[in-house]
Symmetry: C2
Subunit: 201 residues, 2 copies
């Protein structure tokens, strides 16, 4: 993650420092064990600043989720800059890394807990609606460019994107909530799906 | 659900009555809002019996999850009793109903909250490991029968099953945690995947 997101290695300003502290506290304590006090432990600057900015843990986490979505968007190469198949691969990799590195597993677990808040909290539901829409739109854009270039078949792009994002989301959820790591076979079959269903002959 | 599971319409014994009360209390209050007292409200027999059997809400819910997994296994037609493609369809329908009926949505939301407990609670992680394994094994068995009968191609069954179960799991999670219902396009593309990747020419 520190390779992908600069705020984790070198936060540029106070907000990025807060986001960095939130990220590490989430990895360490998960959502259930998180408190603003624990985030403050990882926040080198003034603790009172943290309490000044956010009234509750959930308010801080909703800000964090919005920030991470922007970071994700920035991490995807611009459409057209590289081959569509390569870009699609980067989107898939961003959600479903083949190896289960320790920090990534902890972060995926925390994200699964955050997503589950959406079952009873409209603010989280609004965020994850946006999150999944952004992910789908990025996939749609990539496939459309590929169709335009003749490298992908003329498929129902919205439908394919909904399916792809569901498979990624389910893969992450399984990684976070079971003892088995099925990311490698899921990734393999996802690649085969792209190759058989999407790639033009 | 009442069509699929007889314990919801007519519980056969005390345990099934407890499971019925738990199901309806989960749909009404979700995991976050659930207490043993609230389950007791839906339990017509002695409330003290409920407290006698279970020390905590989580203990009761883990028993409920095990019970529901057995009910799911019972609801799937025996292998070989009907065409493999039909059986696969029933497995898919069991997780991802095309229409969002109110009770089903509430139950899917509660299950998403329960699954998220697995991020920090080993007992829940053990259950969802079993749950996903049972689902995958049922898919594997169905595809293998189909390959034997010559209706499915000779694919990597474990890999296909891991991918299918991830897509189903992700579809349920999206239904539970976003404002958009993407079950219809996900189902459509799942059918297309089965038809293009699995079905023998």
């Amino acid at each position: 993650m520190t390779d992908t997101f600069s705020f984790l290695a070198e936060p540029a300003d106070t907000r990025e420092s807060i986001m960095q502290a939130t990220y590490f506290a989430l990895c360490e304590h998960g959502y259930a064990g998180l408190t603003i006090a624990r985030i403050a432990e990882d926040f080198e600057k003034s603790k009172s600043l943290l309490y000044h900015h956010y009234d509750s843990k959930d308010e801080l986490l909703l800000d964090f989720l919005g920030f991470m979505l922007e970071e994700f968007q920035r991490s995807i190469p611009e459409d057209g800059k590289e081959p569509p198949e390569k870009r699609l691969e980067k989107i898939i990799e961003g959600s479903l890394e083949p190896e289960t590195w320790d920090e990534g597993l902890k972060f995926t677990r925390a994200m699964t807990e955050l997503r589950a808040q959406a079952a009873h909290d409209e603010r989280f539901r609004k965020h994850f609606t946006d999150h999944d829409r952004v992910l789908r739109e990025t996939v749609v854009e990539t496939i459309e460019t590929g169709i335009g270039q003749g490298v992908f078949r003329d498929v129902d792009v919205e439908q394919v994107a909904a399916f792809l994002v569901a498979a990624l989301s389910g893969g992450m959820s399984q990684l976070a909530t079971t003892e088995s790591d099925l990311s490698p076979p899921i990734r393999e079959e996802l690649d085969r799906y792209v190759s058989v269903v999407l790639r033009a002959e």
